[in-house]
């Protein structure tokens, strides 16, 4: 699943409404026929984090974190501790030392603190205040049992909230996002640059770590908006609205072009990108855009993801969530749109540190079919989470969280519960 956050500063061209794809009320393929509104936040809800199959956390500008039960919509915990908007949240996965069901939640806020919460009891475990500036991003490396905070510098912590090591301060910018790379490497975005660090554990007893800067990928024209790992060898960098860069990440001695291509063939084939109001599907194999929808929403798309059920979901500032399906196009339709002028694709050439931009002539092979839209929010939908058995959760600037469920499934589920309850009562009655 790809997560894509794109900011379009200058694509807000006046678009005629009629151009935006519309779907009527009849949406036979739309499974979400039941909704439940979760109220609690008093300001924009910006983040949601998946905890387990039944729970998720939500956080936003009111500084409060709520833990919800996705099945019943009950509010399980209300975590209060931050005085300013929350800037990042992350869930500690089940670490070996902890109980299997015990989960920790990290929250960073613009009040320059990070709090670690116990999700089962809803209590604060650690409160970290030794930050010079607010933490913008949090990353957990499960493998190493550490977590990193990114602000004016990158700090590495262990589960007991002890500082292991930190980098020097970045001059004029903060770390806005980080991803984990193989072999204890981390890529951090600092405005126009991508900096790659390496984490080195010095000795396991003393818990002393070292972080060193490996490489700095600069020369980007604009701020980098998104960063994703394609495979072990390459990362995907997106910056200025219309430009997507794909670059192999070389870790010294393995810049094999062959490996680069084959690895992608087997694993992830498509990259879904939201640019402005449009959605684009880029095929890594053919290195072409295979499907696009230029006016997918009325307004900027804020979050896009491919769900396990093969639906592509996008949410937007216009307050709607749309469901798409990638369908085969009837063959005889070559794409003639000039749209792809704005597409650039970084391709590994002879010079590895340099981004080669090249326009691709792409052939549209597939089409993005709108199969449904979810209307409920009255403000921009910030993001969504998908639960396999319980549908989807969306959060929005209108302070609400909405659970979208498959009505049929829910009905079945209730029947099951009903008969379970009957059986229990019967047993209880028989035991008396």
């Amino acid at each position: 699943m790809l997560r894509w956050l794109l900011g379009g500063r200058d694509v807000q061209e006046p678009v005629e409404k009629s151009l935006v794809l519309c779907i009527g009320d009849e949406q036979p393929q739309n499974p979400y026929t039941e909704l439940r509104v979760l109220k609690g936040h008093s300001d924009i809800v910006r983040f949601m984090a998946w905890i387990d199959d039944l729970r998720f956390a939500s956080a936003g500008d009111d500084g409060v974190v709520f833990v919800w039960n996705v099945q019943t919509g009950e509010r399980l915990h209300e975590l209060r501790g931050h005085s300013r908007p929350i800037t990042a949240i992350a869930v500690f996965p089940s670490v070996l030392q902890l109980q299997p069901e015990s989960r920790h939640l990290l929250t960073a806020s613009s009040d320059k603190t990070v709090i670690i919460w116990d999700l089962n009891t809803g209590t604060q475990i650690y409160l970290l205040t030794e930050f010079q500036s607010s933490v913008k991003c949090l990353m957990i490396i499960e493998r190493l049992d550490v977590w990193l905070s990114g602000g004016d510098k990158v700090c590495t912590w262990n589960c007991q909230a002890e500082l292991l090591c930190k980098t020097t301060c970045f001059k004029d910018a903060d770390v806005s996002s980080m991803i984990e790379l193989p072999k204890n490497n981390i890529a951090a975005v600092v405005r126009k640059d991508v900096v790659i660090f390496k984490l080195i554990p010095l000795s396991s007893e003393t818990q002393a770590w070292k972080i060193i800067e490996m490489r700095r990928l600069s020369n980007h024209e604009d701020d980098i908006r998104a960063l994703i790992t394609i495979n072990d060898l390459s990362i995907f960098i997106a910056h200025v609205v219309a430009h997507l860069y794909l670059m192999p990440f070389n870790l010294g001695n393995a810049p094999l072009e062959d490996a680069f291509y084959t690895a992608q063939l087997e694993r992830r084939r498509n990259i879904f990108a939201a640019i402005g109001t449009g959605i684009y599907v880029y095929n890594l194999q053919t290195k072409t855009v295979i499907a696009y929808q230029q006016l997918a929403h009325d307004s900027r798309v804020l979050h896009i993801a491919k769900l396990p059920n093969n639906q592509l979901v996008s949410c937007s500032e216009d307050g709607s969530v749309r469901l798409w399906e990638l369908q085969e196009l009837p063959p005889a339709e070559p794409a003639t749109s000039g749209l792809f002028n704005m597409w650039g694709i970084g391709r590994p050439n002879k010079q590895q540190n340099q981004m080669a931009k090249r326009k691709l002539e792409c052939s549209v092979l597939k089409t993005l079919e709108l199969i449904g839209d979810l209307i409920g929010h009255s403000g921009a939908v910030r993001m969504f989470l998908y639960f396999k058995d319980h549908g989807m959760v969306t959060c929005s600037t209108d302070h609400l969280i909405i659970l979208w469920k498959d009505g049929e499934m829910e009905s079945q589920f209730r029947s099951k519960k009903l008969f379970q309850k009957l059986e229990q009562e019967e047993q209880y009655a028989a035991s008396l």
Partner: protein
């Protein structure tokens, strides 16, 4: 609506030709008498309650009536004479042989039914005695009478009347005891003061006396002093008696009728607990600041002074409380007896339908009941409530109560130690123990025991039927002799027993203990067959119709002949609290019934608020078989009429033989008891803030509401050709917004359509008459029918914008342009429900028609919901598709629902499921269900 009273009437009386006189009235609900009544000679229109006194000065005199102007040209004085002249065990205070002090005789009230040919009136007369220090023998006899032109009504409702009046009487008497005690205290202070004065005077005389002999004055003074001292002793004794009595009473679980209510909630009379307390305080302070007067030892002549009024006699708070109660009683018993009984039956049946009744029945009623039940569980037991601080703080009460010698003699006054802990622990156990008592016949031997027990002190409650013209053919009372305490109702018995088991250490009460406990097993056996099987919901249409006709018949029986057979009732699975049935029949059923032990075990589950539903898992039969197997049973049942004892056993066998029908609902016993007591508003109802009948205001309200909305609905379906589409939206849970400029018009439409809104939550927020702000997504979850203002302003635009945004979730009825935008309805059901060419003329009739159909739908939904195989695979190999297929088949072929009709039932089923699973959890919004279907626009 399970039974329509007008149908009842029509089926029985063939020569009923009179048309409804007042179109605005639902039939029989407010009509004073039944049109075919033979008591046309009555000189009054409506029933009323009369309170009169046998005054020692002027003889029998009427004091007041409720309602005040109800008497017309009825001769109250004559009737007072009539009812007061009935001989009953007048209490007598005096010097019983062997005692030197006057003894207060705490008599029980007596209850008498009498008829008067001259006035064409029949009355239930409740005699009671109040204490007055200034009255002859300290007592003043009063009576409260319920007077009606319909003899049947009095006889049929005797139990209810008796319970209600006992409650009212107890309220009066409590107030009276309080007032009497206060009066005695004052008198004592006077006497003390007098004694002191006299004492001083004698001392002075003694000192001044140097002659060595006593002057006549001195002797007179000494005599006077002795007199006063004797008086003091007598009064102290009286005071102790009255206090220990009330204290004693409180221990008798029989009489916690209303005191706890004062303690817990403000009463509906506006005189809350606080005012009660403050009133007490005032009284106490009064008694303390009371300045004693010098009194002559001789009592004043009665005839010279004005006797106290009833209000003075009873403490005005209690007096008003009683009046309030009686007003409620009067309200409750308004209307024809047929209507009363029908509504009682209806309520009983509805209470067995808890799983579905929330959809369209009076939710207030059920919710209230539930919350009350919860309160009751939470509350400490009423026995303790009555020993409230108020009582304990009462001056000298604690001292006096400690000396128990005075009432050693009688069983009732055995000192009982109440141990709260023991009590609370034993609560569940005792409830379980007492469950068997639910059945009147099973409890009847116990009743007798009660009567005997009581007999040692008082005469017991005697019932005399003084039918003047003809003797009443009343099998109800055939069992009752003067010793039997008919007043004891099942719930009371439960509590009584409970109290008995609580008596932890009392040597004197050993006998009582033994008898009660030895009774238990027997009771248990005898009463278990009274399992209430609810089956209406599981029935097919035909069967349900059958059932309702059964009901009608039995109603008719009830109304016009008292000699109905018990079988009718058993067959319909109703137990009327009015009836005291023969003892033997349940016993033999108990032996015969193969189901017996099983049903016992299910009873004891008292924690299920919503009733226990047992669906025995049944794997061998397919759905088809199950439902076909219903029909032969159906036939069986027709043949069952008239059969007496066999009826029940066959009936039970049916259930045991065919477990596949599955959906037999068994109402837990204590719930049943609750229902009973609820209906009969029994004496010991401790759950309601008002001692009066709690359900009547609601009932009346809903009666008016029904009439009104029925008429509006009728108007709507005639005026608007797209009514069916709109109703379909409501019945499938799609919100209907009525947009319009004129508030009145919109509200009328909302009212017209409100009949069709399934009540999807405990909060009846689903209807909003007039909304003036833009809709929001969370409104859509709770509201199902709203009126929305259309105005030309920025706000109006944003309102319309919100409508446009959420248009897929809502149907919009434009009131000004008379257009409707909603999904099209394809089906038959609503065509019948809302036929614009309907022949129905009256609003209330149409309301009943609608409810009839909706109830039918509910029962279908119930069946659909609780059919195991429709939702879960029979075995693991079965795929989800085949279950779905079965479901569709079921809806189509078994329930006969075409197209969109099945959607309605499915929606209902979902509501039932959610309700049963207690969803949504507290503090969570309900879900909004919707479909992605296109809407069309309809015009007139």
């Amino acid at each position: 609506m399970i039974t329509a009273p007008d149908v009842v009437a029509l089926t029985h009386e063939d020569d009923y030709e009179e048309q409804y006189r007042d179109d605005s009235m639902p039939p029989f609900q407010f009509q004073p008498e039944n049109p075919w009544s033979k008591t046309a000679t009555a000189k009054f229109e409506k029933d009323f309650i009369l309170i009169s006194e046998f005054s020692e000065q002027v003889g029998p005199q009427p004091l007041l009536t409720i309602p005040e102007n109800a008497r017309d040209n009825f001769d109250l004085n004559y009737f007072s004479l009539r009812i007061m002249s009935v001989d009953y065990q007048a209490s007598f205070v005096g010097h019983p042989p062997g005692t030197s002090y006057p003894k207060l005789n705490f008599v029980e009230d007596s209850k008498v039914v009498l008829g008067d040919s001259k006035e064409g009136a029949f009355a239930y007369v409740h005699h009671l005695t109040l204490y007055d220090l200034e009255a002859r023998g300290f007592v003043r006899p009063f009576c409260v009478a319920y007077i009606s032109a319909d003899e049947n009504k009095i006889m049929q409702q005797f139990q209810e009347l008796s319970d209600d009046f006992s409650k009212a009487s107890e309220c009066l008497k409590t107030g009276n005891r309080k007032a009497f005690a206060t009066e005695l205290e004052k008198k004592l202070q006077d006497l003390e003061y007098t004694r002191n004065v006299l004492h001083n005077e004698t001392e002075i005389q003694k000192r001044s006396n140097d002659k060595g002999y006593y002057s006549s004055v001195a002797i007179e003074k000494a005599n006077e002093l002795a007199n006063v001292e004797k008086c003091i002793i007598e009064h102290e004794d009286l005071l102790m008696q009255i206090r220990t009595y009330s204290h004693k009473k409180t221990k008798d679980a029989h009489y916690f009728s209303y005191e706890p209510e004062y303690g817990t909630e403000p009463s509906d009379t506006g005189l809350g607990h606080q005012s009660n307390e403050s009133c007490d305080k005032i009284n106490f302070s009064n008694s303390r600041s009371y300045t004693p007067k010098f009194t002559r030892a001789k009592s004043a002549k009665c005839f010279e002074k004005k006797l106290k009024t009833l209000e003075e006699l009873c403490d005005s708070y209690f007096f008003n409380q009683t009046l309030e109660q009686l007003k409620q009683v009067e309200k409750f018993f308004r209307g024809d007896v047929c209507y009363l009984i029908t509504s009682q039956i209806e309520k009983l049946l509805l209470q067995q339908q808890r799983l579905t009744s929330f959809l369209f029945e009076d939710t207030l009623f059920f919710d209230k009941e539930r919350t009350e039940k919860q309160q009751r569980c939470d509350k400490p037991l009423p026995v303790f409530n009555i020993l409230s601080p108020k009582d304990l703080e009462h001056p000298c009460l604690s001292n006096e109560a400690a000396s128990f010698e005075s009432y050693k003699s009688c069983v009732e006054s055995v000192p009982i130690k109440l141990d709260q802990q023991v009590n609370e622990e034993s609560y569940h156990g005792t409830v379980a123990d007492s469950i068997p008592c639910k059945n009147p016949p099973g409890a009847s031997d116990y009743l007798e025991l009660e009567g005997k027990e009581k007999g040692s002190v008082s005469s017991g409650e005697s019932i005399e039927v003084l039918g003047t013209e003809k003797s009443c053919p009343a099998p109800i009372f055939s069992k009752s002799d003067s010793q039997t305490n008919l007043q004891c109702q099942h719930p009371e018995i439960v509590r009584r027993k409970f109290v008995v088991t609580k008596r932890t250490n009392s040597e004197d009460s050993i006998e009582v203990l033994c008898t009660t406990e030895s009774l238990i097993p027997e009771d248990f056996k005898a009463t278990c067959p009274s399992a209430i099987y609810e089956e209406d919901n599981t029935l097919d249409n035909e069967e349900e119709k059958q059932l309702s006709t059964d009901l009608v018949q039995s109603d008719a029986n009830l109304n016009h002949s008292n000699g109905f057979s018990k079988a009718d009732f058993e067959n319909n699975t109703i137990m009327l609290p009015v009836l005291s049935e023969p003892v033997d029949s349940p016993c033999c059923i108990g032996k015969e019934s193969p189901n017996f032990t099983k049903s016992v075990s299910t009873f004891v589950t008292e924690e299920y608020n919503d009733g226990v539903v047992n669906v025995p898992p049944q794997r061998s039969k397919t759905i088809d078989q199950i439902f076909h197997s219903d029909f032969p049973q159906q036939d069986d049942r027709n043949g069952l009429y008239g059969a007496d004892d066999q009826v029940l056993s066959t009936y039970e066998k049916k259930y045991s033989d065919v477990p596949g029908t599955g959906e037999t609902v068994q109402i837990p016993v204590d719930e049943y008891l609750d229902n009973m007591s609820y209906i009969s508003a029994s004496l010991c109802s401790d759950r309601t803030p008002s001692p009066a009948l709690p359900n009547c205001p609601i009932k009346r309200l809903s009666g008016k509401h029904k009439k009104q909305s029925g008429r509006n609905s009728l108007w709507f379906i005639r005026q608007y050709s797209f009514a069916q589409q709109a109703i379909f939206s409501l019945l499938t849970g799609r919100m209907l917004v009525i947009v319009g400029e004129q508030e009145g018009k919109v509200k009328k439409l909302v009212n017209a359509l409100s009949t069709f809104v399934p009540n999807c939550g405990s909060d009846s927020d689903s209807i909003k008459q007039w909304v003036t702000f833009p809709l929001h997504i969370n409104h859509l979850q709770t509201w199902k029918l709203i009126g929305l203002q259309r105005i030309a302003s920025p706000l109006g635009t944003s309102i319309l914008h919100s409508l446009n945004r959420y248009s897929r979730y809502i149907s919009i009825l434009d009131c000004d342009n008379k257009t409707l935008r909603c999904p099209q309805y394809k089906g038959l059901l609503i065509t019948r429900l809302a036929d614009h060419r309907t022949q129905i003329k009256r609003g209330s009739t149409y309301y009943m028609h609608v409810h009839n159909m909706l109830t039918q739908l509910c029962s279908q939904a119930f069946l659909y919901t609780f059919c195991h195989h429709l939702h879960l695979p029979v075995d693991e190999r079965e795929t989800e598709e085949s279950v779905t297929c079965r479901r569709v088949n079921f809806l189509k072929h078994h329930l006969g629902l075409m197209n969109d009709d099945s959607k309605i039932v499915q929606y209902f089923a979902d509501l039932i499921k959610m309700r049963y699973l207690h969803e949504p959890a507290k503090g969570v919004n309900p879900v909004l269900r919707f479909n992605y279907t296109s809407s069309s626009v309809f015009k007139i």
